[in-house]
Amino acid sequence: MSFLSFAWNWLKSPAQWHGADGIPIRVLQHLGYSGLSLLVAATIALPLGVAIGHSGRGSFVIVSLANVWRAIPTLGLLVLMVILLGFSVLAWLIPLVVLAIPPILVNAYEGVAGVDPGLKDAARGMGMTPWQQLRKVEVPVALPLIMLGLRTGAIFVVATATIAAEIGLGGLGRYIIDGLATENYGEVAGGAALVVVLALVVQVVFVGLRRLVVPAGLRRQAKTS
């Protein structure tokens, strides 16, 4: 039997769609963990990245961070947290946030730092205070990269939330982990199919968000560069 037939057989059974272990609840849980972590990470990383990009101080931190964070094994971090903190909100929130911060931070930094110096000069020439420069010129011009950083952060958060089922978290990863444990490949396949669909839907949402948030002129410019 192929992956798709396993998945389809499991998904079409009505039992999967009701109850506390049902698909709708698991989807909402997964989105909840991912969304909350992304929000916390963005709250920390965006102001920091924008500030470092604007002032230029501390860019060494960003550059060193750049490749090291990808080396951190997500499963290891999750397992470590649950052993140290027991199964609590922080046990999954901390690793998810820690993994989402670097892409958001680095992209925000690059976005603001990469603003054409001529534009910054023109803003200063027009009499804008540094705060106004930031708000009216630098951040809007950096928006494409900022959105890209958030989108990348979303990828990592959704993926890590899937793995976090191993330490007892709910969400769609639950089907994969439980199915593997009980050797019920139908459940594993169904869970994996749902995870793939969710991940792609999240990406589509971010592409749509970008269209909404980033001014048309910048989008066109980003395409041709």
Partner: protein, 229 residues
């Protein structure tokens, strides 16, 4: 139990699993490189093909690794291939855009100078365009290698051995020491491979040694690799 006691008692297993993790990380990156260079060249040559290819790589990159591992189970069982194939796909998603960007970054004047000197298309590609693209390609290769080494540990969830074994074992036995050690080992392994690739880049691009511009640009390139608007 002290760290040293545990390390010396389990030295053989640590060595074995580190080697397995290294293989599970390096094979995908290298195979990804081998595939991405011709694919990238084709995408540059037939520029209409690039937007759809980019959409596909962006989409695939967004899919959680665990999901792709389990998708392959009916076809490749619980073997190393079940982990290597998805990691190769992810490496491709990072490397193909980098190959395309690298080749496109060759200034038109350089290309025309080569043609004026009598270089045919193939020779120009191999002797001029690809060498110019090396820094960008190696930046992508570094990301692919580091990510693959780290993601390989997730394979432990489907029983494919790597340093991830210590994570699961530590969880089951409530023994944090081996988790700490394994995390450090994974990071060290990844950073060592990263350094080796930096050395290779240095060796392959002698013309950059007298310039100052190279490294910093490369680091930020790394941070944003794997994502494209």
């Amino acid at each position: 139990m002290s760290t040293w006691t545990w390390l010396s008692t389990n030295a053989a297993m640590i060595r074995q699993l580190t080697l397995e993790n290294a293989i599970l990380g390096l094979v995908p990156a290298l195979v990804g490189l081998a595939i991405s260079v011709p694919v990238g060249i084709l995408c540059v040559r037939f520029s209409w093909s690039w937007p759809p290819v980019l959409s596909v790589t962006s989409a695939v990159y967004a899919i959680p690794s665990l999901a792709i591992f389990v998708v392959l189970i009916p076809y490749t069982g619980l073997s190393n291939l079940t982990v290597i194939i998805p990691l190769t796909l992810f490496s491709l998603c990072v490397l193909v855009p980098n190959v395309v960007d690298g080749l496109r970054s060759v200034p038109e004047s350089v290309r025309q100078a080569a043609t004026a000197m009598g270089f045919g298309t193939m020779r120009r590609l191999v002797r001029v365009e690809l060498p110019q693209a090396i820094p960008v390609i190696i930046a992508g290769l570094r990301v692919a290698t580091v990510s693959s080494i780290s993601l390989a540990s997730v394979g432990q969830l489907i029983g494919v051995s790597s340093l991830g074994y210590f994570f699961i074992d530590g969880l089951q036995r409530d023994f944090p020491l081996e988790i700490y050690v394994a995390i450090v080992l994974v990071i060290l392994l990844a950073l060592v491979c990263d350094l080796i690739l930096i050395l290779i880049r240095w060796l392959l691009t002698p013309w950059q040694r007298s310039q100052r511009a190279g490294p910093r640009v490369d680091e930020l390139e790394l941070a944003t690799a794997g994502q494209r608007g």
